[in-house]
């Protein structure tokens, strides 16, 4: 059991009780240290609306941030992905065609799913939560206007480990 299990339990209960708009928990382990989330993007530039995010709670949580990355994979059939709220109805016809998760295109997201985000590194504090990461990522993609990969994508993915390491990033451009 994670030393901060009580906190994780509170966060988990709150995520279930007050789900974030357009974000749902696909699965989690019993210890609440591994989560799969599905994030829906309403940014019109993105053809794919649904993305899968893996969040891993490290031993040092909440003093250290969770690890998070986007992953590819097949989407369960029958999941309509209708997490859209009434204010943001999603186009059902294009959505049912989609059957796999891809890595969202973004200047801060590498093609292997690793994310360069200050909140996942130096700017994390224990006052942040899994929820703050989800909101940050959703807004980061929803507000994106630059449909490119990071400039060093090819080089980075050759040497990257399973997850992005805290010091592994050069912060290229804070304006996007």
């Amino acid at each position: 059991m994670h030393p901060f299990h009580k906190r994780l339990l509170k966060e988990f209960k709150s995520l279930n009780k007050n789900p974030l708009p357009s974000i749902k928990i696909l699965s989690n382990n019993e210890n609440l240290t591994n989560f799969d989330f599905e994030i829906e993007i309403t940014n019109g530039l993105y053809d794919d609306k649904l993305y899968k995010l893996v969040v891993v709670i490290t031993k040092e949580y909440p003093v250290s941030p969770p690890k998070a990355k986007f992953v590819v994979g097949t989407r369960e059939a029958g999941e309509s992905g209708s997490t859209g709220t009434s204010e943001n109805p999603i186009d059902v016809s294009s959505d049912t065609m989609q059957s796999s998760y891809k890595i969202p295109i973004h200047p801060h997201i590498y093609s292997n799913g690793h994310i360069c985000l200050n909140l996942l590194g130096d700017d994390w504090t224990p006052a942040c939560t899994i929820e703050s990461i989800l909101i940050s990522l959703q807004s980061m993609i929803n507000n994106n206007t630059d449909m490119t990969r990071p400039p060093d994508d090819n080089r980075y993915i050759k040497y990257a480990g399973e997850f992005a390491s805290k010091d592994g990033f050069v912060y290229h451009d804070d304006s996007v």
């Binding site: 030393p3 901060f4 299990h5 009580k6 906190r7 003093v63 130096d122 504090t125 224990p126 006052a127």
Partner: protein
């Protein structure tokens, strides 16, 4: 009537003795457990793990929780809640080994910050010289 007591069990409840009771109703911002509960490192509540009351800001934590945070370099000695430099009310706690560690960590972060400021000034001086 004669009553014979066969067995008895004492029950006690406890509560931090603070002038301001509203503080003890709060949760620790790091472990999200009530202050009258224990931090995740402790089995029993007590003076081993007292409340640390923010002096610069109004944020309070279990001793072991804020210790764990300030042990991180990335904490930069800042309060997790408001990112102000973290100071705590020293009039409030008796000095223990862990309180001493807390003081040392806060001092360490302070000298790190001072050094960074000095370096900034140095490079600023260099820039000025280059412009001359």
């Amino acid at each position: 009537m004669k009553v014979e007591i066969v067995d008895w069990q004492a029950v006690a409840s406890w509560h931090w003795d603070l002038k301001d009771d509203s503080i003890t109703d709060e949760l620790c911002g790091i472990c999200r457990v009530a202050f009258d509960g224990t931090c995740p490192n402790c089995k029993y509540p007590g003076n081993e793990c007292p409340l640390i009351l923010g002096a610069g800001c109004q944020h309070n934590f279990h001793l072991h929780c804020i210790l764990q945070w300030l042990e991180q370099d990335t904490s930069k000695g800042l309060c997790p809640m408001c990112r102000q430099v973290f100071e705590f009310r020293k009039d409030f706690n008796t000095v223990t080994k862990d309180i001493n560690s807390l003081l040392m960590l806060i001092d360490g972060h302070k000298s790190m910050r001072d050094r960074e400021v000095d370096e900034e000034f140095d490079s600023f001086d260099d820039d000025l010289r280059m412009n001359d």
